[in-house]
């Protein structure tokens, strides 16, 4: 018993002061991409060509990055001869609709909006989520799990992961939805009582991630279920996931 108390004293109180203060992110953290299209040489397609998931499309205003596909690898920023594309430290990446996943140069990035007033009245103070991995590599899963540790202490926001869909207000889904998980995912969704929400976490759950070309998967959650929140990343940083959840609950404003 003495040892436990001594450890308690040595380890101290370590829950992050977030959202009052932002935790320090690693210096090489790759968050929201910033595109300076005015630097792009005429006809240059380097970033689009090196992107392994075809996340970059050259639009009218310059390179557009689809965060639904983006694995946040440094390939494009390293390949660009002019430094026109770079990752910022901005971890707020979640959006409410798949159209908002596209980062267009010169246009404001539309972050996730709060759920509607009626849904917020029902779920806003107590949100119970059932997690389903539908082909996730255990990357997103472990960083979702981290939110339950005492560093992040998800419970203080009224959010909890529960063991049964029947106890849940919604699903948090990772993975590209493998063909082999489609039925189990649909059944789990059906078992959640109304009103319910769906949160897709990670590049796979958004649009198939590194497996987007494979027939063995369906290309993301929205191919199967209506999605209320998209959280980009491969895997998203726990802070990015928590930011998305809090925005959905209307607890964070820009």
């Amino acid at each position: 018993m003495m040892h436990i108390l001594l450890s308690r004293w040595r380890q101290g109180h370590r829950t992050l002061p977030y959202p009052k203060e932002l935790p320090t992110l690693p210096r090489r953290f790759r968050g929201l991409p910033k595109i300076q299209a005015e630097k792009c040489p005429e006809g240059c397609r380097v970033c689009a060509e090196v992107c392994p998931t075809e996340a970059i499309h050259l639009g009218a205003k310059g390179p557009e990055v689809n965060l639904g596909r983006c694995l946040f690898c440094p390939d494009c920023s390293e390949a660009c001869p002019e430094g026109a594309i770079e990752y910022t430290q901005d971890h707020c990446l979640s959006v409410s609709s798949s159209e908002d996943l596209i980062v267009i140069p010169g246009e404001a990035f539309r972050r996730a909006e709060a759920m509607g007033a009626e849904l917020k009245r029902v779920l806003g103070r107590s949100l119970k989520l059932r997690v389903v991995s539908a082909g996730g590599c255990n990357g997103c899963e472990v960083d979702v799990n981290v939110l339950g540790t005492l560093s992040w202490d998800l419970g203080r926001f009224g959010i909890q992961f529960v063991a049964s869909p029947r106890h849940a207000d919604g699903l948090l889904i990772t993975g590209p939805v493998t063909r082999h998980m489609e039925l189990a995912l649909r059944k789990t969704y059906d078992a959640v009582p109304h009103p319910k929400i769906v949160i897709a976490v990670g590049a796979c759950a958004l649009q198939g991630g590194p497996f987007f070309r494979q027939d063995e998967q369906l290309g993301g959650v929205s191919k199967v279920l209506p999605v209320d929140l998209f959280v980009p990343g491969c895997p998203p940083h726990p802070l990015t996931i928590l930011d998305g959840l809090l925005r959905l609950l209307g607890r964070l404003k820009d």
Binding site: P74, V132, N138
Partner: protein
């Protein structure tokens, strides 16, 4: 004919296909049977197009691998499994991927529930809509015997799989595990590669073992391209792998503690695991080591300034880890739970070809870093961490001993890297050797990760085989549960903590 008929190959070596002995099926079988009888492990048995079978035996004591191949006359051959149980899942996989039937297989069931890649019909008469775990399970019948079925969607934040227990009251007679829900088609995606996405797919084969798989993949490409990386690059890769191991071991010790209801270690380790992951994130921007390695070198380097900066953070993470984990060993109520649960005998472990933590927990002295040393482990050897009793406690204890070794390696390496200048950035690799075979092994935190590549006449992948340690070890969970209380399943399962997607690929 014996395993001497096979060709000796070192970890990461490339051979021209012409240099790999082609044996008649009888001699091929004899070589594997004789080799495994005299202590070698079947590290890989797989099929490739045109009815070819390839085998890799690992002679861990003699520190070498042996390879051979055979060409079948038709899509069937006499199964090895009745005489060599560790072949059981490999032979089922061969049947599923290529429609080649191992005749006389005693446990002939699908592995991932997909159709053969070739035009062969499904050996089980399944169609494209067949789902995993829809099959006949082994059944115990009798008065008061009941069946418990769990999954694919489990109660925790965990990957999907189906578990079918045959129970008598609390006691589990038998557990059958049906996986395949996570199948994303990685090996099929790698055909014709390397593609721009291949490295990302290797990193996500089992996403908590990104470095172990990325490193195995990089070494395949480097060997086939005839490129050697610098010893400094190897050292940085070693840091990446040992950080991955440390983070996962800390997380597992915390989770095991939580499963035994001992909350102090569980809650501290949950946080401290993040401190280890954040060290990786400092170097490569990703907590899981994504985009750290790349074929030919490093995607992101660990320069002297960063090595100096990481030193004190490593020391702090280690101090906190020791404090949290030592509480666990002092908690009698936890120790008694750990010691009575999930025992596996060493003979069973050898027969089914266990690797990694569960093997070492039975006193089996295998560790790729020691037996088939690669990269930094040639000059900076790692001691294999062993325990004897084969139970949950032994698997937890092996993790703790490995943490001590990893921490030592990390402190030494960061010290060395603090005094050495970064390597120049590497360009793309030259083209890969044509018509060649390369086998690359790394020791991930769960155990042996094997990648095998076969190139065609243009140096593209004609076959790429990935064997995650979980592929060898899932059957160990089933055996460890025999005679146990079903309520101990979470604890037993966590003590293995195997990968679903690493198995399902």
């Amino acid at each position: 004919m014996s395993s001497q008929a096979m060709r000796v190959i070192l970890n990461g070596q490339t051979l021209l296909l012409g240099e790999v002995p082609e044996l008649p099926i009888q001699a091929f079988r004899d070589a594997i049977l004789e080799g495994t009888r005299s202590g070698a492990r079947l590290a890989c048995l797989c099929a490739a197009s045109d009815l070819r079978l390839f085998a890799v035996l690992a002679g861990d004591a003699e520190k070498c691998l042996r390879v051979a191949w055979t060409r079948l006359d038709g899509p069937r051959y006499p199964a090895l499994t009745p005489e060599c149980p560790q072949a059981h899942l490999f032979e089922r996989e061969i049947a599923e991927q290529f429609g080649i039937i191992p005749e006389g297989h005693p446990w002939f069931k699908p592995v991932r529930y997909h159709l053969p890649w070739s035009d062969q019909p499904s050996p089980w008469g399944r169609d494209a809509n067949s789902l995993p775990a829809v099959m006949d399970f082994f059944k115990v019948s009798g008065e008061e015997v009941h069946e418990v079925s769990v999954g694919p969607v489990h109660a925790g934040v965990i990957e999907p799989g189906h578990f079918r227990f045959q129970c008598h009251g609390e006691t589990v007679f038998h557990l059958e595990i049906a996986l395949g829900f996570q199948h994303r088609g990685i090996e099929r995606a790698l055909l014709g590669g390397p593609h721009p996405l291949s490295l990302k797919q290797a990193e996500t084969a089992s996403g908590d073992s990104s470095i172990a798989h990325a490193w195995a993949y990089c070494r395949i490409l480097e060997s086939l391209a005839g490129v050697e990386v610098s010893s400094r690059t190897d050292r940085v890769r070693g840091v990446a792998l040992e950080l991955e191991r440390a983070a996962n071991h800390v997380g597992d010790l915390g989770a095991l503690s939580g499963d035994a209801g001992f909350l102090p270690t569980a809650s501290y380790c949950g946080r401290i695991r993040g401190d280890w992951l954040n060290l990786s994130a400092e170097v490569c921007g990703s907590r899981l080591g994504r985009d750290w390695l790349k074929p030919g070198g490093l995607h992101q380097d660990l320069g002297p300034v960063m090595a100096t900066h990481l030193g004190p953070r490593l020391a702090q993470a280690w101090t906190d880890t020791k404090d949290a984990v030592e509480l666990l060993w002092g908690a009698a109520s936890v120790m008694i739970r750990f010691e009575v649960a999930g025992r596996l005998e060493a003979t069973q472990a050898r027969e089914i070809g266990l690797v990694g933590i569960p093997a070492r927990a039975c006193g089996i002295n295998v560790d790729v870093r020691k037996d088939h040393p690669y990269g930094p482990y040639r000059d900076h050897p790692i001691k294999a961490s062993l325990a004897e009793s084969g139970n949950v406690h032994a698997r937890a204890w092996v993790r703790w001993l490995e943490l001590i070794e990893s921490q030592r390696f990390l402190a030494d390496s960061l010290g060395a890297l603090a005094g050495s200048d970064p390597d120049p950035r590497v360009g793309p690799l030259p083209s890969l050797a044509a018509d060649s075979l390369c086998v690359s092994l790394t020791e991930g935190w769960r155990g042996e990760v094997l990648h095998l590549a076969l190139t065609d006449g243009q140096g593209r992948f004609a076959r790429y085989k990935i064997v995650d340690p979980s592929f060898h070890n899932w059957f160990g969970v089933a055996l460890a549960m025999r005679g146990e209380q079903i309520s101990d399943f979470p604890l037993c399962n966590k003590s293995f903590n195997l990968s679903y997607c690493g198995h399902d690929l």
